[in-house]
């Protein structure tokens, strides 16, 4: 079963060409041959109709392949769909602001605040799914994310998929969210560099400058040292890296030391993202251990940003609404939340900065709701 990766909030499309992926028989249909429509105006070329209109269904069911859904309001033109018995998965919506391939739900970490809790089931079918999806993606896609789970666990299949992306989408930047431990294998890094150098960025979390605390947060011994080693191997082969720091109760008081550690040990990283928590998945299992309000760690965040400025390390704040970030460092905050899990509160509509704001994860909203405070320009 493929994960539902992208949705758009609104769709007024009455009829659209869509692309379908059908994996079990290794087949896909592109463009003209598949049509999503509610109006009775279907060309002869169309082989497959998706519809929410019973009339259409009745009219065409003996002429063409027609699939009826009670509700199907997020399909848009040139979306990629996966069809299975009684269900449809939106795999790719061109209008989304973030496109990510989901490689696996297995992981060798078990992070206290994981938003995407790992599973141990075999999900190798995702490999074929992804290979197929890649063929259908728009060739001018600027960025394609790779996520999981830990995508590098796929090993040689990881290389195979990256190779496929490079072949089908030669100009697309590949951004892989990984814990970097697989990069301790120099051959693996070299293989990636041979395929994708220049267009391949690894986004690697480091949560604490104390190796034990990092290992604890990711629930895996020796994680810290292997991850750091992974950064070095990437640098040695010219692969770009970014550091991702999710700020929690476990590490907010370590941000300054962590920035120093990064500066003195891996100063070659392209960017550091300091990120607010997403209150979903394991974050809810471990709420007491990890929850802290952004207002409580604002001083530490300010200090970390100041250090990055001294160290000339590019830094951004992700996942926090602007009103919860101190105004001195507000310009470091980015609109980082993918459109399909982004929310604003009622009160946000009074804010003059709403259009520049990241908003909140849907899951985070209950935790931030009472803290929000619309910003009015030129208050004095």
């Amino acid at each position: 079963m493929i994960k539902l990766l992208h949705t758009t909030p609104y769709s007024s499309i009455q009829s659209a060409k869509v692309r379908k992926v059908v994996y079990n028989i290794s087949e896909y249909i592109d463009g003209d041959n598949i049509f999503y429509t509610t109006s009775d105006n279907v060309s002869v070329n169309v082989k497959l109709i998706l519809t929410t209109s019973k009339d259409i269904f009745k009219k065409y069911k003996n002429l063409k392949e027609v699939i009826y859904f009670e509700k199907l309001d997020e399909v848009e033109e040139y979306a990629i769909l996966k069809l299975e018995l009684n269900s449809i998965y939106l795999t790719f919506l061109p209008s989304s602001n973030a496109h990510t391939l989901f490689f696996t739900s297995r992981c060798n970490h078990y992070c206290l605040m994981c938003s995407e809790p790992p599973k141990i089931d075999n999900d190798d079918y995702l490999i074929q799914d992804n290979l197929k999806i890649i063929e259908l993606l728009d060739k001018d896609l600027p960025v394609l994310g790779v996520s999981g789970g830990e995508p590098t666990l796929l090993g040689s299949d990881f290389i195979k998929i990256i190779k496929k992306i490079r072949k089908e989408l030669p100009q697309t930047e590949i951004r892989v969210l990984t814990n970097g431990r697989a990069y301790t294998n120099e051959k693996f890094v070299q293989e990636i560099a041979d395929i994708a150098k220049g267009y391949f960025v690894s986004e690697i979390p480091i949560y604490h400058s104390d190796f034990a605390k990092h290992d604890y947060i990711v629930q895996s011994r020796n994680a810290f040292f292997e991850t750091i080693d992974g950064f070095y191997k990437c640098a040695a082969y010219g692969l770009s890296t970014e550091v991702r720091v999710v700020i929690s109760k476990q590490n907010y008081d370590n941000l300054a030391d962590l920035m120093y550690f990064i500066y003195r040990n891996i100063p070659f990283v392209d960017h550091i993202a300091l990120m607010g928590l997403e209150y979903i998945g394991f974050a809810l299992n471990n709420l007491k251990t990890i929850h802290i309000s952004p207002l409580e760690y604002m001083e530490e965040l300010k200090q970390a940003i100041k250090l990055c400025r001294n160290y000339a390390l590019p830094v951004s704040i992700y996942n926090l609404p602007l009103c919860l970030v101190h105004e001195d460092i507000r310009h470091y905050a980015r609109q980082s939340i993918s459109d399909w899990k982004n929310e604003f509160s009622e009160i946000c509509y009074n804010c003059e900065y709403k259009n520049e704001c990241a908003g909140m994860f849907t899951s985070t909203q209950p935790f931030f709701e009472t803290l929000l405070k619309p910003i009015i320009k030129n208050e004095d």
């Binding site: 190796f211 605390k213 604890y216 040292f225 070095y232 299992n285 000339a312």
Partner: protein, 503 residues
Amino acid sequence: MTFSPAKTYKNFKDLSYYQKYEEYNLFPFNFKNLKDTNLILITTEEGEFVITTKDKLNSILKKSFCFEDDPSLFLELLNKQFIYLTHDKEALNRKIIKYRTKKQFLYTGPVLHVFVVTTRCQHKCHYCQITPQNQNAFEYDMTEQIAKKSVQMMMQAPSQNITVEFQGGETLLAFDVVKTIVSYTLFLNETYKKEIEFVLATSLVDINQEQLEFIKENHILISTSLDGPEILHNKNRPINSQNTYKKFLEGYLLAREYVGNTISPLLTLSRDSLFHIEDIITEYQKFNQNSISLRALSPYGFAVKTMGKIGYSAKEYIDFYLKALDYIINMNLRGVYFREEYATLLLRRILTPYATGYVDLQSPSGAGMNALVYYYNGDIYPADEARMLAEMGDETFKLGHVNENTYKDIYNSPVLQTLIQDSCAESLAGCSDCSYLPYCGCDPLFNYVTQFDHYGHRPTSDFCYKQTAIYEYLFKKIQDEKFLDIFWAWINYDTEIINENIS
């Protein structure tokens, strides 16, 4: 929408399961008492430092120190690689990478190429480091043949980035040579494709429009001399009985019309300057400068003869320098961005993980390895000071001649090989166990001139005396956040941050 805890397939473990700090070993490090305090400065060769107490240091050395005694110090020692955990197999590797970063200058080859285009000069500066020749003594100009040979040799250097610096004498008196070198360099560079920067050192006196056209057209940077306010400048830099300052100002104003504010004035400190630092800085600000380099006079050339009159002892210099730094830091505290360049260089070494090129303070010495000097007559030297020594009749440091030797000859010459071998501070008595070692370097030429061999003798070395005093000063200051902020603003040339602090 509501969310609930996720399904788990194993339990979460406690922090204690991951804490394995018990067994550790020491990496090598140096330590030294911080003057006038009870604190000890310990440093690694990669330049990481920790300031701690004598008791703590003792227990670290005996390995009786443990995580529970002081978790934050323990982790600091671990992350700065003073100690390593025995179960951590990659610890040494991380240290090596840090060290390599710090010593990056070893990989670059000669970056600075100094062309002494003439030794003729109209000035008769009291502190001049060379013996200036009469204005009409054209035999002291570099010939076209020597100039082209020199450029060919420069292009053979492996360095991708190259700075071509024109020195004199007065370079404007031999401007045709400058033109030849620039054009020929650019011509050859169509093949070599290096990144090249030209710097013209000139007094700016009598500079003309034609010269400025050429300077502008070829993006040549101008480095000039400004010794302070009119009285001081005239006293230090006489041209017969004329007002040198006025002549400099004329040249400066004209040059500015062509190249804008890209002219960098350089200060030479004479004895008189020591008492006028405030006036000097005000003068520099008048010329839109937000920095100054307060280097001491070199013990070479003309200056040796007049040392008694215009010179000063190392102690006098340091007394002046540290007071000047106090004054400059206070300006910054009041919200006026102003930077002292030598302190900035040392701070960059102390506070950043990167290598800094500065040929006079590297280990091994940057002379020859990172810089070459092409003398007007075709002789090649490892440093400006070496050719000054040659002008005094001592050719010890001559590496060869552009007509007789190839770049390879020069680099493999016994003179250069010995110079490099003898200038690794890591292996010199008095340096190898010094806490300031990672930030310092060697000047074997200075040692040779003042103490008569390459190695020098640290306890009586003026070089060591000055360096130590400045490190002590800086390490005291960086423990205070308000000074540290200023120092980072210097390192990053970040003028905004000083203003922000004030507002």
